[in-house]
Amino acid sequence: MAVLTRPKTRRTREPVTSARTHRGRGRYLIGAMCLAICTVMLLPLVMSTLASVKPTAEAAASPPTYFPHSISLDSYHRLWSYQQGLPTYLANSLGAALLTIAFTLLLTVPAAYSLARFPLPGKELIFIILLLALIVPYQALLTPMFLMFAKVKLTNSLVGLAILHTAIQLPFSLYILRNSFSAVPRELEEAATVDGASHWQALIRIFLPATVPAIVTVALFAFIMSWNEFLGALVMMSRGNKFTLPLVLATARTETSLGGTDWGMLQAGITISVIPCVLVYLLLQRYYVSGLMSGAVK
């Protein structure tokens, strides 16, 4: 962990400019670089949030101002009542995300349990089929899925969108959960089965409590993916009252009541879309990073 930072006695041969130097110029240079990088990364978000609280006239000014001369929630008011109204779009985005979490967990928790614990007939074949979902990019499957959903009236439906998002998220979730279930000590499970618990009871009483971190990770990724996903929603949702937040904002970039782009309202929408993701990430950072490491690399 602390490979490069461990404070230890300096050897005279240690070059002073070394990046691990904790004293002298090097240290200030590192500090300055870190601060500069943080500024560059945060600036777009900060400027967008500041632009969202400019009064209507200032938000539409050209050339733009850097900082709002006065604070106003006008842009949020306009967003609140834009077309179907912000509550509708928030409810759609949130609904799709929560359904995606539910579908993903309901499908992958039992499957991961079974793949990790039981000898299955045709396990190889099952794996290959599940892997297929990982190999085929969902972007390529949207046309046939749209036709299928159109037939069964799942277009313009949150359930339909959540099914699509679940299909996207399923392989990753299954992978994370299977690894986590495999890591549960056999003794725990055996103790439960000796007591006469069924597989189902063992799953509920032993495995679920033991794999909470993995379940949180899976739910977290499902939420962020569904909340942010754009192309699938664009294809599946054609009715304005079913738009998710990214969709309605993408529409609002060109057509608004002001004639041109309502930049203030757009920034208000961006701010509202960004907040849940950043909040969830900062609160559950540990799960997010561990999920990323095991899902993408290992």
């Binding site: 602390a2 490979v3 490069l4 930072t5 050897r11 070059p15 070394s18 990046a19 870190c34 601060l35 990088i37 943080c38 990364m41 945060l42 777009p44 978000l45 632009a51 000014a61 050209s62 050339p63 733009p64 499908l107 039992p110 499957a111 349990y113 079974s114 793949l115 099952i126 892997l131 990982l134 190999i135 085929v136 990019p137 390529a140 499957l141 949207l142 046939p144 899925m145 749209f146 299909a167 399923l170 299954l174 962020i224 909340w227 942010n228 754009f230 192309l231 664009l234 990214p246 904002l249 993408a250 782009t261 930049w263 929408g269 961006i270 990430y281 990073v289 990323l292 490491m293 690399v297």
Partner: protein, 281 residues
């Protein structure tokens, strides 16, 4: 078996079946207006002679080739800077990662505003510091300028992804190895080149593959920031599939293009999975 069945059925219905149907559609002249007509491989032949298919494909390739080195080298340098667990470096790591959790669509809208000719802060800033005399038309007028602007926005958005994975790999380098090279009097950059880089090579390869696959499938940023303009020169491969399938309703042709795209991606995914397998052994 009962436990795995729901997931299995789900994948069969919502991934395997659509895949089969896509292959089937690709052999047909299929629009929603007239009944499908079997035309063999005509859709694929048509793609070869379709200049827009090639424009999209080459543009996507160019985008991928330009952005991947920036993401990998930039992400790696950031990881070297932020891998020690001191407060400021950890804080920087967390900050650089924030845009990764924001939607690509949303970040594209944000940068659509920043790059806006008359209302964007980038032109305003560049004029204020005297780098440009009049506002630059960043998006949708010149294909290359648009590409660079979009690359800048996506680098901001996804650089943290590679960084966080590189940090994991760098921190996993055994400390006795780095210390040994330290005793030998190696400078910091010698240590990076001779010890850290070789020991994190597999992660670098994996992140490169993930980045390449993601870039080849780019859509949101171009749809939102240029809408394919000028003259569909910035319409990526996925964008062109989307245009054919939905606004143009050439579903058979769209399916054929999808399949070509999926096969291209498959090559990279297989390499990725081989590399991944090895790490589990």
């Amino acid at each position: 078996m009962a436990y795995v069945a729901p997931a299995l059925i789900f994948v069969l219905v919502f991934t395997v079946y659509p895949l089969g149907q896509m292959a089937w559609m690709s052999l047909h002249d299929w629009s929603l207006l007239t009944p499908p007509k079997y035309i063999g491989l005509d859709n694929y032949k048509r793609a070869f002679t379709d200049s827009q298919f090639w424009v999209s494909f080459l543009f996507t390739l160019k985008y991928t080739l330009l952005i991947t080195p920036i993401l990998i080298i930039g992400g790696y340098l950031l990881a070297l800077l932020t891998s020690p667990n001191t407060f400021l470096r950890k804080f920087t790591r967390t900050t650089v990662f924030i845009p990764v959790v924001i939607g690509l669509g949303i970040s594209s809208l944000l940068w659509y505003w920043l790059f806006s000719t008359d209302f964007g802060l980038i032109n305003k800033f560049l004029m204020d510091i005297g780098m440009i005399d009049k506002p630059v038309l960043w998006l949708g007028v010149d294909a290359d300028t648009s590409n660079y602007a979009i690359i800048a926005s996506v680098v901001w958005k996804v650089m943290g992804f590679g960084m966080i994975l590189f940090v994991g790999a760098i921190q996993a380098v055994p400390s006795d190895i780095t210390e040994a090279s330290e005793v030998d009097g190696a400078t910091y950059w010698q240590r990076v080149g001779r010890v850290i880089l070789p020991l994190t090579l597999r992660t670098i390869l994996l992140v490169t593959l993930v980045s390449v696959i993601g870039s080849l499938l780019a859509f949101d940023q171009f749809y939102i920031m240029t809408a394919g303009q000028p003259r569909n020169e910035t319409a990526t491969s996925v964008f062109y599939v989307y245009l054919n399938s939905f606004p143009y309703l050439r579903l058979g042709y769209g399916a054929a293009l999808s399949l070509v795209l999926a096969v291209t991606i498959l090559a990279f995914t297989i390499v990725q999975m081989i590399l991944t397998r090895r790490s589990n052994a």
